[in-house]
Symmetry: D3
Subunit: 249 residues, 6 copies
């Protein structure tokens, strides 16, 4: 069930049986010579939809712009500042909490978001924690899951790409977008990219370290049929994880 | 050309011939008993895509959550605060300006966003205006267009719905979403909603004035084939308007 | 009744019969070769005082600095950023709400403020809308009226200046300031200014488009006696509008 | 020379001979049973005008709402938060600096503003201090003067009221407003107010300590002719102080 | 009793008999050729500890970075912006208030902090004052004391250094740090520094006025045994002052 | 070399040979029945000092209050909001960058800080990344190291405590504080605490899950001599890591 394709009365009925929602969160940033700029938003969006189809979970609209400051050396990349992203997450959660949602499951597609999402959760919780006890506000609980961070997806990546999957503009994520958008598959010759010699800092630093944008990957290995399997593997495990989150005491 | 389905090298080539981009901006909020919660994001997204297909303009990812505080009395509505939306627009524009974009055309789907988008433009410009003259930053120019605010769309609305289109959860916008998502058409009996007796204030006030969420509309008249015509009409006129914006001295 | 010329006990008594207040809001910015920099604050201040005298409404202190970033290319112009103006309006309203005011009528003198005032209202309302239902805070209601935006003022402008009133540094507003400050009438030869070829962006852009600051106006036609008539016309219609606002259910 | 009653061309000429400006800053807050709510804005505004008339200094529009949170227990009081006031002062100074102003003389009418004005100056300076050396921005210099804080005014207060002037809603400041607004003199029986037993905290605390709003004063002693003398005394000494500020190396 | 060296159960017991806490607040900034960069944090920390030992008062962790923008022309100086410092103080106070603390006594070591601490208190109080009456939050009360600002310390400074103590990098404060850190006494030849010809503005301005960082002082006169006496004198008087603060009605 | 015990001239000389600094960052929060509230600040402070002594690295003042919202259910815990902590880190880094520091090594003592420190780094970098290329600002590089997150410390924890070290109020960290503050060792009977059944949310939630504040630990096993060994092990490995950070191309 997708929030943006539902009516408010449908959501009201949904709340009678569940207080949970899945929120895809990604980024809009370069993904190397054959990767789509929307890759990190597309992946969690597609997988969240699959989870929603499977479990009946409500899926909110994707936060498609994340923390991508380090990719701004490449045309078309878009970032919000961490403090902006914190505000977005706060308002999103507060809006839904007002009408009864209590469990927020963020399905993430971008490593660069992880720290800031954690900070946003703490900012939200701090509002509760700093309040004098006795407030009658219902409590909210938030969690973060990276779509690729499951045993099945890791095993599949290993099976398909060995040590050539890399860590940015990976063959895995490019495969998922090829499955999701078969009309937008890009073909480009390139060798496996170099691995990360050290952590990057700002956008100029990143581009100096990774001239075509990739880190350690060989996305020429990506195939739409891999994407289909990756989506299925991730959705299955994420669905289990989401159910556990709802079942928490 | 859609930014999220492009590579950075494609965007780099695009910048050789154009400094412009179209950014759909909408909202995630109740749209009455048969309207989708995503209506205000879906409409500009679909129309912007049509404009991009027609003109070759680059279309950025949709800002799908806007100012919807007044709809929070209905389940599933999501808002960001105006100051959050200002920050989002600032960061979005600054990101693209860094790599050479200069003309930002926001295609809007939600009346409640208009004021804040205007404030955001002024906030962006103020950064330039408060700087001591002689800075070598390239200037940016932003503009706002509501998708429904063209002679052709207005005429079509009148032709199709007479005085029953209303001003929220309109037959027009519901038609556009039915065209865009034919599998998600909702059927619901209802009479034309009452008109606005006065301006609404906060969410409780809005719900008191408009018990099922609609303002003055009869969205049972919506049809997907109307949506197709509305999209075509809007896209044609928006494309002209966008070209004029790019051609400005 | 003017707030700054009243005592707190007088305001306490006023609150026994009315929960409303009129707040003039303007700007401090160039108004062409013979227009006062304070024009946009002076006009609503003078008219609000007339409305207060006529209706007994309380008139708060004028917010005299608004969004004027686009005028910063001309010496003496002063702006606050939109986010600053939002904070000012929030605090102003919250202060008075604490002691019982509920209806806030902003009488505006500057087109550049309109968007941000709308955003400020939404920011204020969002605080209420995001709160869990059941808070016992009294609700506030805010509205915006431009002093020139009444049938009588428009008709008078047409009668006095035909199509030479323009849209910035207008003959109308200069007349109002000449009526208000007869000792500060400036004489200056000039032709009617050119009209707006397109929307302006930042301060450098504005000055390039409008070299002496005016847009489309011929303020040499301004006369203090016109100002007197304009103030009277506006005050009459604003008073009616304000009373309707108070009478809203 | 008053900024709001000048044209931009007049300000441009003024800048050829002076880079200085006087900015009155006050508050809108209860001033006891016979004191005007606008007292703290009126006093520096009137005195600044006198200084401007005497010295030719440019006087900017008054910041009439200050830090008055502690007075919110009394109807009609209005505050901005300290962080809002900091933003106002920053934007005001940056606007004028853009066109060449360098010396900002704030003439203050409210003790409760002093700390925040100091913080605002430090916030402005920090922007310069944190910049890497070599920026070519012209430096600004800000100073604060309380209108009552001169030997002449102190002596006059002692002469007129002995130890009955108090520290809020003083006979002195009420006299100044009576001189400035003779049509708004209020008559009210009351005894000298009690002195401050300790520092106040928030609004409820203040009202508990000072039930009618005054601290230690007997404003029944106020007379408009005292006000005239106080304005003259203050203006004379402030003018000297302002000239020294401009003459600083 | 030092908060950072206590357990939560010890603090819980402490709250049964006292709602007060002492919070040292200082700065990290140049203190001339022989003064430690930590001087302004060390002094109140040492004295607060002595007060705590004497009175049983709880002493919180030192806020060791303050407003030092004007010292940034000298290597090793660190500042937070005033708005950052306000946020720190707000969060610090709100955290402790949540568990029952009500009286906050800030013992300050840096003149440059005074204004911002005052602004922070007003920001905290404003949250209470702007709330609609009837909130059941316990009220907090904050106060500021400069460690050197007591009759005994002033007399001792006069006795020890006559008119050579100065106002920054003073012999007094250097003595306190020599007493606190005898292994870090620095020896350096220098003459008494020049006095302040005028107020400083930003960091470049400060360094131009005070080339080695000192203002009016001769810290070659500093001795650890002076420091011991200064700490004792200050602690004795601060302890009295703190007790009075707790005893306030 | 400790910044707060150095003079500005010593720092100036230091900058001739190194652009690096180590900044301890911790928290002020409950650490169970026998753990000090300052534990998370004390540990990195002590270890950073040891690293500084060993390598000659400059050590800045400790950021002793971190993200501890989840501990506010226990008396004496203090938090700053994540957005406040981001501002602190930004200002701290910018201050030192102004005088030539380029490499910032944060030695962290608190798991709850990790996300926000990452967000702060991204916020800092975003300022560089969003600037138009060609700015001549020197680039900064920041890194984060948790003191316990080294092979040697992990091995020692296993050797000393087996599986009884836990994850909050650990035997390891209590040992370090016992070594650092032998006069403040607390004795308290208790059993090993329960492990984390799930992630905690806000302060009330945390206390419900962990009634005495500990997570999975048996800090009765803590000994000062363990602390000495842990400090030595961590310092040795952190020193190596810091040198590698400075040596990065
Ligand atoms: Ni990716
Ligand atoms: Ni709509
Ligand atoms: Ni105007
Ligand atoms: Ni006063
Ligand atoms: Ni000092
Ligand atoms: Ni710990």
């Amino acid at each position: 069930m997708q929030l943006h394709l539902s009516t408010w009365e449908e959501v009201e009925r949904y709340l009678e049986t569940s207080k949970g929602i899945i929120i895809p969160i990604g980024s809009t940033e370069q993904h190397g010579p054959n990767g789509l700029i929307g890759t990190d938003a597309i992946c969690p969006e597609v997988i969240a939809k699959a989870v929603g189809d499977e479990t009946g979970a409500l899926v909110g609209p994707t936060i498609s712009i994340g923390n991508a400051q380090h990719h701004l050396g490449f045309a078309g990349s878009v970032t919000v500042r961490p403090t902006t992203l914190i505000a977005i997450i706060e308002d999103y959660v507060a809006s839904l909490a007002r009408n009864g949602f209590e469990r927020f499951y963020f399905l993430n597609g971008h490593g660069g978001n992880i720290a800031t999402i954690g900070a946003a959760f703490a900012e939200i919780y701090a509002d509760y924690s700093l309040a004098i006890p006795g407030s009658n506000r219902p409590q909210v609980r938030c969690t973060l899951k990276n779509w690729w961070d499951t045993p099945g997806v890791q095993a599949l990546s290993k099976e398909l790409y060995g040590d050539r999957d890399g860590s940015h503009a990976t063959a895995s994520e490019v495969s998922v977008t090829q499955f999701a958008y078969p009309d937008h598959i890009k073909h480009k010759e390139m060798k496996q990219a170099g691995r990360a010699p050290r952590a990057f800092a700002d956008a100029d630093d990143y581009r100096k370290l990774y001239p075509d944008g990739r880190i350690g990957s060989d996305p020429t290995m990506a195939r739409p049929e891999h994407g289909e399997r990756l989506v299925a593997a991730s959705a299955r495990e994420v669905a289990e994880d989401y159910k556990k989150f709802l079942a928490q005491a």
